[in-house]
């Protein structure tokens, strides 16, 4: 019994001591807040990153899925965490739109310091096999002749709607949006013919090859070597690009040396061939940016999102 109590004492002291002398960051497990459910696109990407970060930081990086309310619950949790580098936030582009659409009061640049950009998942406009359109051009013609008749599945107010809205704006057409959250339910609805088009990514290649779905256009600058037959919107004459970008942030006020350490680990982790391989399976490109580049990138993205939110009639604040 005494031995057990001593052990407990050591355990307690050890844990407390670790907190008091935090000079050698990191000396305990780091919590990575992913604001979406486990198993989703975002989760899978960060779960591939976590062990590689761990390798370069020398401490466990534990993914914590804090889901709910379009990702804003996790955002709040991360924003209110101690800025000590033991909580890092793993968001994607939704952080802009949820602010402008009034779903949260947190403006990303007020609450977080960007650390690095990790990956980009290009959007692909996808149609169901039951639709008559073989190309994006046919879709545009149909939509022009029958305004509001094209049913598009999307998570309303999130990236899967913004990509389609961006393309629609460029082509001068309008879709009717039907709420389907998550890529998997959208693909099921496409397969069942309950919706006509949806945003997806290269992970759906298998179903396209099987003739169950059709890729109409990819929203990147150049064609993707995996799917050389799918034209980009740019070459079709619409000057738009869209990808879902994912990066790491820390709560505002995190010490500079901690941010540097995280940034370095992030750079090394994204360079691992293992990471590139994992991303390829997710239809995603590795896209590393350091803190400075990422900050500028976010600012540009923020502006585009704001304009689109306005176009969709969802803008709640400037």
């Amino acid at each position: 019994m005494t031995r057990l109590l001593t052990l407990a004492g050591i355990m307690l002291l050890g844990a407390m001591g670790g907190n008091a002398f935090a000079a050698s960051y990191p000396d305990r497990a780091i919590k990575m807040i992913v604001p979406w459910a486990a198993g989703g696109d975002t989760d899978v990407i960060y779960r591939a990153l976590a062990p590689l970060l761990q390798k370069h930081l020398g401490q466990a990086v534990v993914v914590a899925n804090v889901k709910g309310a379009s990702g804003t619950v996790g955002e709040r949790e991360a924003a209110s965490a101690k800025p000590d580098g033991y909580t890092i936030f793993a968001p994607h582009d939704y952080i802009h739109s949820v602010y402008y659409a009034g779903l949260t009061d947190i403006k990303y640049d007020k609450a977080f310091d960007p650390v690095c950009l990790v990956s980009a998942t290009p959007s692909v406009i996808t149609a169901g096999a039951k639709t008559p359109w073989k190309s994006f051009k046919e879709l545009v013609e149909f939509a022009k002749a029958n305004p509001g008749k094209v049913k598009a599945g999307a998570s309303l107010g999130s990236t899967s709607q913004y990509s389609l809205a961006l393309a629609a704006k460029a082509a001068g057409i309008k879709f009717t949006y039907v709420p389907y959250d998550g890529t998997a339910p959208r693909m099921n609805a496409l397969l069942g013919g309950h919706i006509d088009i949806a945003d997806s990514n290269l992970t759906q290649k298998g179903k396209v090859d099987a003739g169950l779905l059709r890729f109409l256009a990819i929203m990147t600058e150049k064609r993707n070597p995996e799917m050389p037959d799918v034209p980009t919107l740019k070459e079709l004459g619409y000057d738009v690009e869209y990808a879902v970008n994912r990066g790491l942030m820390v709560p505002k006020g995190t010490p500079a040396d901690v941010k540097t350490k995280l940034g370095d680990a992030c750079q090394k982790a994204t360079q691992e061939p293992e990471f590139a391989k994992a991303m390829k399976l997710q239809g995603t490109e590795v896209r590393y940016m350091n803190a400075e580049q990422y900050t500028a990138f976010l600012a540009k993205d923020d502006k585009i999102t704001k304009d689109l939110t306005k176009d969709l009639g969802m803008l709640k604040r400037e």
Binding site: M1, A20, K31, L312
Partner: protein
């Protein structure tokens, strides 16, 4: 005319549903979809209110007829009156545990909770039993910590005050 247990339950549910209905005021109008965020809640809360009302009416109609039979229904076993004091104490202990968890951290709070609740439920009358209480509390805490944090990588709450 007295209100039975069902009637009271119905009244509580009715009150809650009316209060929730009031709360649905001020929700934004429909955006991009045909029905707004207030429509569905109003429908289901309305159903809840209606059913509560039916329950109250049912109770009022039957309780008069069945009033004399009421004691039989309670079917109290001899000497087995529910120990509500203990129930209340358990609730309070649990409530305090949950409230203190984010401040004391999982390890300290759980040790205290398991020890205290054991004492509340069954007061030890010998020092061996006290030792058992402490051992169980300590064992539970240690086992949870080792299994979850160390083995399964499930992070448990850390205390804001204690730092563990």
């Amino acid at each position: 005319m007295t209100l039975g247990r069902d009637g009271i339950a119905g009244l509580i549910c009715l009150a809650i549903s009316i209060w929730l209905l009031v709360l649905t005021r001020g929700l934004p109008p429909a955006l991009m979809v045909p029905i707004g965020p207030a429509v569905y809640p109003r429908v289901v809360i309305g159903i809840m209110a209606l059913l509560s009302a039916i329950m109250i009416v049912n109770d009022l109609l039957t309780s008069r007829a069945a009033a004399p039979a009421a004691p039989a229904a309670s079917r109290a076993e001899p000497g087995a009156r529910p120990n509500y004091l203990l129930v209340l104490a358990t609730f309070v202990a649990f409530g305090v545990y949950v409230l203190l968890l984010p401040y004391l951290g999982f390890r300290i709070a759980t040790f205290l909770f398991v020890a205290v609740l054991q004492v509340i439920l069954d007061r030890p009358r010998s020092w061996q039993r006290w030792l058992l209480v402490v051992a169980v509390a300590f064992g539970t805490t240690l086992a949870c910590h080792v299994i979850f944090e160390d083995y399964l990588s499930v992070l448990l709450p850390r205390g804001d005050w204690s730092g563990v």
